[in-house]
Amino acid sequence: MIDEIIEEEISPPAEPGFWKESWYQLTRNRAAMAGLVIIAVFALMAIFAPLVAPKDPLIQTISARLTAPFTDGYILGTDDLGRDLLSRIIYGGRISLIIGVVSVGISLVLGVVLGITAGYFGGWVDRVIMRIIDIMLAFPYILLTIVIVAILGPSLMNAMVAIGISQMPRYARVIRASVLAEREQDYVLAERSLGTNNLELMFRTILPNALSTTIVQATLGVGEAILSSAGLSFLGLGAQPPTPEWGLMIASSKQFITSAWWVVTLPGIAILLAVLGFNLLGDGLRDILDPRLRD
């Protein structure tokens, strides 16, 4: 009885209009909404960066080097080359969001293709793909990206590819598992017997079933990608100067921590907030879309 009551509270019965219902649930989840608001603010700033940013992020004013925040019209101060920090952070948001979305896009495409291939064809195809994925998982995540960037050469684009490849295993696994579960369902067998094109069948019937988990993973993945790319740039393996990338901004001004706290602190807070936004939203989505994975 007690369990039933509590149970009911946790997992409301599935109703028609799943997405509408989910959206309603999301609006009632304060943490997720906070995440969504953070993401929206960053996204708007990124889109309208030229309008929002007070200055050009690349223009150096040597006379105004390391100006403290709220002085001489520099709201967040300047860096060691006299560039406006606020403008650089705003443009950095553009770069970070693009990195997050592109990296996750790359891993989604790879993961979906590999996952469906493995799950649908089974046999040795499945074994080979899963073996490769196991080996990728045997690497610590950050090392894997470093290895891949080292292979491809340091650049922002290659960092995105590296992060995309490193994150791929999780999507491939989720998709493969749901393909395996769905493959033997009656409707799939029925459609197969009607001669529906294999590929079309896979994408139309199997993919939507893995959608909720994938959405959750992808949301959390964007945050993780932003974090990884900042780390790679910090190591000199991602964005190259003078790109206003957050991680790179921290790396290139780390020797000034004794004299100018803002040059390191503020870009870091930007990273923290952006990643937090995606983590909050991802956690909220998990609660709503995938109650089994609940913390």
Binding site: I142, V147, K254, V264, G268, V275
Partner: protein, 338 residues
């Protein structure tokens, strides 16, 4: 049990081979001429040819691959281009520093994480719970290198309490014994009755420990909380309560033991991650471990060194994961007695 271990060991072979292969291609498939990349634009043809033959780059790819695997299996990771030292020597000289830091960070993260996780679960929806959960979400959203710099800014630059980097105050003219400085400090304390070495080692390791341990701390706290909540709702906890077992014992003996089973796996994986995640932390705190060495090797385009370092850490990671799996089956009677 023995069969289980053997099976896992056999499964390790293809994984390790895969790791070697991937690391091999790191150099073999690098765009352009690796020798040119490593030696820079000013190198002359003779130098390039020499490096190529040294690294076997003038051989066909398949032969290079077989040679590489053969060398790795013999425990030969090649020579560093910068120092001309054997990479295995370079690694073993730096391993203690890395392990020491990974251990302190794991201990810090585990103890604090479990305490916070249990407290949050016991007082669900209280301020303890909310602040732990918010804190851990912030913790996993933070770039480690940034946290490290902020810690230095606050505790070293601002408050002048702790050193900014290194493992020991240079003024102590310390000669390492085991190369685990905390242990060395204790040995010196006993031997000479002088606690300075230990105190200095401890002071140096605090900030790197906190920086490196924050993400695992957040993850462990979250995992502990969710497992604890799960276990506290289990029937056997109800049984224990119905049998009149005191609440403290129910929580700490009955429930915690079950809740910690999955947490131990997480701690193990995090320990493996720390060995690799330490690249950033070690660099910032000038911690002379493998991570910092890999960082500098990347900067110096010392590819054999990077390759060797990454291969070594990945091996470590794979082996630790295996140990964790085996350990889990030892402490979990459900698996143990199968």
């Amino acid at each position: 049990m023995l069969k289980f271990i053997l099976k896992r060991l056999v499964l390790l072979i293809p994984t390790l081979l895969g790791v070697i292969t991937l690391v091999f291609f790191m150099i073999a498939l690098a765009p352009g001429d690796p020798a040119r990349v490593m030696l820079g634009e000013r190198a002359n043809a003779e130098q390039l040819a020499q490096l190529r033959s040294e690294l076997g780059l003038d051989q066909p790819l398949s032969k290079q691959y077989l040679l590489y695997i053969g060398r790795v299996l013999r425990g030969d990771l090649g020579k560093s281009i910068v120092t001309q030292q054997k990479i295995t020597d370079e690694l073993s000289a730096r391993l203690p520093a890395t392990i020491e830091l990974a251990i302190t960070a794991t201990i810090f993260a585990s103890i604090l994480g479990i305490v916070l996780g249990v407290a949050a679960a016991r007082r669900r929806n209280s301020w303890v719970d909310y602040s732990t959960m918010t804190g851990s979400l912030v913790g996993v959203s933070m770039p480690v290198f940034w946290l490290a710099l902020v810690l230095i800014m606050i505790f070293s630059v601002g408050l002048d309490l702790l050193p900014t980097g290194g493992r020991m105050d240079v003024r102590l003219y310390f000669k390492p014994i085991t190369n685990y400085y905390l242990i060395d400090g204790i040995i010196m304390w006993f031997r000479e009755g002088n606690s300075d070495y230990f105190v200095s080692a401890l002071k140096h390791i605090i900030l790197p420990t906190v920086a490196l341990g924050t993400i695992p701390l957040a993850i462990i706290a979250r995992t502990t909380r969710s497992n604890m909540l799960d276990v506290l709702n289990q029937d056997y906890v109800k049984t224990a309560r119905a049998a009149g077992v005191p609440e403290g014992k129910v929580v700490f003996r009955y429930a915690l033991r079950n809740a910690l089973l999955p947490v131990i796996t997480v701690i193990g994986i995090q320990f493996g991650m720390l060995l690799s995640g330490a690249i950033l932390t070690e660099t910032i705190f000038a911690w002379p471990g493998i991570g910092k060495w890999i960082y500098h090797s990347i900067g110096a385009r010392d590819f054999p060194a990077v390759q060797g370092g990454i291969l070594f850490i990945s091996f470590f990671f794979v082996v630790i994961n295996l140990v964790v799996d085996l350990l889990y089956s030892v402490i979990n009677p459900r698996i143990r007695l199968k």
